[in-house]
Symmetry: C2
Subunit: 352 residues, 2 copies
């Protein structure tokens, strides 16, 4: 491997000078510069980033923790984040909890070993908020509350819920079925903000005197389970005339409805939450509440930048080791406001 030393020797200058040329830093005479550049070209010199990483204690890599990118939601989410990060000179390390033996802990560990500069946490976690706030490294949460010192970004699910309820009420729905995650998550209100749209819908439908049942869907990683769920809905609630769920759930429900000869949207309306590619590939173009992936990604990247800057500051400012980490958390607190991103209702072929 050809290194700076080789280039320096070839050009007859010192390594410092080569470094200055490579980084285009400081003042270098044109003469020196061209000698160095010639040597670099001659030897096909390519700087080794690992050495820089060590010196700067940075990798310019952000880990994105999601359950699995096979799910269209997380595929879109991750893709938009990568784009946003790329624009900021950051690389995206794919951290899928479904594909890691040890789940998110493994990735947190990597974060602490400085293999990444920060992580975006968008997967389910069993850890309590105090675990997360004790990491003292840049973390930003998506759609969940990870406690003090961990900023969060989420969609405006209350608004999404209102849009759905309004559509159902206005179109004269009589019996609505909501499909979502485990109901046990609802009480905490802490780590699963997605439930907010369900609660909003339930409240508004109740006020309007419309029947509403809740059905738990399988894990986000298991689509096959959704098919069973869809079939179960029609068996259990023969008079259901509206189903609300994620794109994937909605697509599967639509397929099952067609199979049973139930006319959509006349006999059954379907509203999908998310607005991913899945909503476009379904049997009909689904009516969706669309989350704004670009805005979400931008907000997450923005918060991440702040967290990283704060953590740098803390590292610079203090020398005592324990004060370092604590300082990081403190600085983060200042920016802890939760960013809430608007959603949009987009009518398709599955509502009337």
């Amino acid at each position: 491997m050809v290194g700076m030393r080789d280039v320096a020797k070839e050009a007859g200058v010192s390594v410092s000078t080569v470094s200055l040329v490579v980084n285009n830093t400081g003042y270098v005479s044109d003469d020196m510069r061209s000698k160095v550049e010639a040597a670099m070209r001659e030897l096909h010199y390519i700087p080794n980033e690992l050495a820089r990483n060590l010196y700067r204690n940075r990798t310019n890599t952000i880990g994105v923790i999601v359950p699995t990118i096979i799910h269209p939601f997380f595929a879109a989410f991750t893709a938009h984040l990568q784009r946003e990060f790329a624009g900021r000179g950051l690389k995206t390390l794919l951290c899928s909890t479904a594909d890691a033996a040890t789940g998110e802990s493994e990735y947190v560990n990597m974060l602490q070993r400085h293999m990444m500069d920060g992580i975006i946490m968008a997967a389910h976690t069993e850890h309590q908020p105090d675990y997360w706030s004790s990491i003292h490294r840049p973390i930003v949460a998506f759609d969940r509350n990870l406690g003090h010192g961990v900023p969060a970004v989420r969609s405006d699910h209350e608004a999404g819920g209102r849009m759905i309820a309004r559509q159902l009420i206005d179109s004269g729905a009589k019996h609505v079925v909501l499909v979502g995650g485990p109901r046990s998550q609802f009480k905490q209100g802490t780590t699963f903000p997605t439930v907010r749209y369900h609660l909003t819908v339930e409240q508004m439908l109740a006020d309007a005197g419309i029947a509403c049942d809740y059905v738990e869907a399988g894990s986000v990683t298991d689509v096959v389970a959704h098919e069973a769920t869809a079939a179960a809905i029609f068996e259990r609630y023969p008079d259901v005339d509206a189903i609300v769920g994620s794109d994937v759930v909605a697509a599967v429900a639509l397929q099952e409805a067609e199979r049973r000869g139930i006319a959509v949207p006349n006999e059954l309306q379907i509203i999908a939450y998310d607005g991913t590619l899945a909503a476009e590939l379904a049997g009909k173009r689904l009516t969706v509440v669309r989350q704004d992936f670009s805005a979400i990604a931008a907000a997450l990247a923005e918060q991440m930048d702040r967290q990283i800057a704060a953590s740098d500051e803390a590292a610079d400012g203090k020398t005592a080791q324990s004060a370092d980490a604590a300082g990081s958390a403190d600085t983060a607190d200042a920016n802890e406001a939760e960013a809430v991103i608007p959603v949009a209702f987009v009518a398709g072929e599955t509502t009337r």
Copy 2:
């Protein structure tokens, strides 16, 4: 940041000893070991991986270059690769050409700067094979020929083509439309092996005297274009009674068929190539030729391991800089066999 030096001081031993304990290498007396472990715990010591990376000249990270993971095919592909890599202690860096300003070159550059140990190339490239074989770093190609020294893995598209043709012939199809990538790619045979299934289908249908037209779909990153393509097919070939394309194309075509009141599969059969989640979310469960993502991922990881080992060997064996890179390529040549993974025909609701 607390480092080994701090731990050594706290435990009253040398850094070397701390290192031996941390890595569980060599012989350390139980006495020393426990003193060091106590100090590590006391100071909350976490090793900094960047220093190791530099010493070993390794990141244990593989870049996966795909057009975009929003597309279900590359989502599944990438997810399976990540799982496979994780099992081998490797991390997955997401390299999407749709989200990088400079396309794949940027990632190749990162590879050369040792920010990754290797790359899996699964996106379209304008570069000629000689570009790729001049990199002299671990690269494995998926479904394309990147020239001498770059091993490749692909599905058995000829078999896939035969399965499709057989189904169409046996079911009495009269006018088939194939949807695929730009026809201009067909002649080279070099960088786009996917076309093999199209050529096989065309040949077999021609032999059977069945009409077959080819329609170019939009870019893999642009699903909206597919919708226009689907509509165009029905306009242009009113008597079409079978459509063959990727899952995404097939799903969109099915949606358009239902919209036009064309009965599937009685009036129109649809066969999807890939077998991703998209095939399950469509209006009906699609009949698919399923690619074996697990086997593909395993084969790619296997080849990657070999490439990395070969590149290590080359670096160890030689000292002259230019011989190093050349040696790497030579060693790679020994394993250059292209791995071909079987596909499966899975009947769904869209064929008869």
